[in-house]
């Protein structure tokens, strides 16, 4: 119990004096997850909207698959990305394994289905409301896509935040493809796993605090956005 209290105190000290090791890890975490979420947004929003707007054979199957992929186990994504990026894998020549880029790729595959599936739902609901009006205005489905993404911007931001929450909290994928190398690929979640097993609780706890704060921050942002949207479109 005393150990725990001491560890807690040390953890808070680390945060208070913005410890350099701590800052480095937090910075890299944000870098990796923000890059992955950024790419997933660029790719996932149009993908989800296209599935909602265009009718093609197998559309329902794609929808079901996409929804299922929202729950992809991170370790499995990590494993597949590892196999693709390892020396003997198809993308081995790129030499990306155990780099932050590899971690971004793995998290991209983890987050894109979340962003795309939520975007599909949002855009489909909007389309039900807008379709007659937009068709009457002479909007082709191609033109409707950016229109609906823009009009759904508040709900879609929530989708992106959900993706960010997922990316920043997962440990399995980045551990496997990043390798948890000090000063190179070590991020918050992998550090917590490692330091806990080493018994270095202050650093693990400090990172844990920051992760939770981040999670609260993300949810607060999502809440505020919803409120703003309600006010503006009531």
């Amino acid at each position: 119990m005393q150990d725990l209290a001491a560890a807690l105190g040390l953890a808070l000290q680390l945060i208070a004096r913005a410890d350099s090791a701590l800052a480095e890890i937090v910075g890299r975490s944000l870098e990796v997850s923000l890059a992955a979420v950024g790419l997933a947004t660029l790719f996932g929003l149009p993908l989800g909207a296209a599935i909602a707007l265009f009718h093609f054979p197998g559309r329902h199957a794609v929808t079901v698959l996409l929804n299922a992929l929202m729950g992809l186990p991170p370790v499995v994504v990590g494993l597949v990305a590892y196999l693709l990026l390892s020396r003997s894998g198809p993308l081995g020549v790129l030499g990306l394994l155990f780099t932050p880029t590899a971690m971004i790729i793995a998290q991209f595959f983890l987050v894109t289905p979340i962003v795309a599936a939520l975007a599909r739902q949002t855009v489909e609901d909007l389309w039900a409301e807008y379709s007659e009006q937009l068709r009457s205005l002479g909007t082709s489905p191609m033109r409707a896509l950016p229109t609906l993404l823009w009009d759904g911007r508040f709900s879609l931001t929530t989708a992106v935040l959900a993706g960010f929450g997922r990316a920043s909290a997962e440990v399995g994928a980045v551990m496997i493809v990043g390798g948890n190398i000090d000063h190179v690929t070590r991020v918050m979640t992998t550090t917590i796993a490692l330091e806990t097993s080493k018994g270095n609780l202050p650093l693990a706890l400090a990172l844990g605090f920051i992760l939770i704060l981040l999670s609260i921050g993300v949810n607060a942002a999502a809440f505020l956005l919803r409120e703003t949207a309600r006010e503006r479109t009531a």
């Binding site: 009006q133 068709r135 009457s136 205005l137 002479g138 229109t147 823009w150 009009d151 503006r232 479109t233």
Partner: protein
């Protein structure tokens, strides 16, 4: 905008069925430039369906909708760009009133500066100038319907379809909307509008198409229609007797 008119609009034996029921009985008619045509009839008579068939939002189960100078069945975006429709419940994009009008103009290929100028002018003409920057969805029902009219008018359509545009509005808002419809007509746009409101039909109509149970049972100039409807269904409707 090219010079050749898309009017008259011709319906050739157009029928519409859904769920095994015939909702619009086969109808052939021409809609030419000029008089304000009002589709009058009780709820469920098929007025809105007929309007959507004309506008191309739904496809006829049988028959053809033919626009002047267009290939039969051709109902693509270029034709839509010469028409506009105002719905009973206007759908406003989640952006400012001004941006809603600009959006329609952008689809017509107008440049940024022209869009801004024309949209601003349209809002002024419909009495919404002061509300240009307001989020469109925060406008009142009447203001939204006037914005829908501004958006439709801005593209200078040859023909404007209106589906019960005042059904949800209070009398003051109805008056404003009717004035704008009159101004749009005066500026040279063909008006085709549905209503179940007799008083409104008397105020606005040059000619009446009376619908009953999916059938156009009478089509005459408004004065003679109201002086003496020929069919029993129309007589019952005009006299306020329910007739099903």
């Amino acid at each position: 905008m090219s010079a050749a008119s898309i009017l008259p609009l011709r319906l050739e034996e157009v029928a519409y069925e859904a769920g095994g029921r015939t909702l619009i009985e086969p109808v052939s008619l021409d809609i030419a430039h000029g008089p304000r045509s009002l589709l009058l009839g009780p709820n469920g008579a098929g007025k809105s369906l007929l309007l959507r068939l004309c506008h191309g939002l739904i496809r006829p189960s049988r028959g053809r909708v033919v626009w002047q100078g267009a290939a039969p069945g051709g109902n693509g975006v270029p034709l839509l760009h010469r028409q506009a429709m105002v719905f009973q419940r206007p759908v406003m994009l989640r952006r400012s009133a001004l941006a809603n009008v600009e959006y329609a103009l952008k689809l017509r290929g107008l440049g940024r500066k022209d869009r801004r100028e024309r949209a601003t002018a349209m809002l002024a003409r419909t009495g919404l100038g002061a509300l240009a920057r307001m989020p469109a969805r925060r406008l009142s029902g009447g203001e939204q319907q006037r914005l829908a009219l501004a958006r439709a008018w801005a593209v200078e359509p040859e023909i404007l379809f209106l589906d019960e545009p005042t059904a949800n509005l209070d009398p003051a808002a109805v008056k404003l909307v009717e004035e704008i419809i009159g101004a749009i007509h005066a500026a040279g746009t063909k008006i085709v509008m549905t209503t179940h409101d007799l008083a409104q039909a008397r105020r606005l109509a040059d000619e009446i198409l009376f619908l009953h149970r999916g059938r156009v049972v009478e089509r005459r100039d408004a004065a003679s229609f109201f002086a003496g409807p020929r069919t029993e269904a129309a007589r019952a409707f005009v006299e306020g007797r329910l007739h099903w």
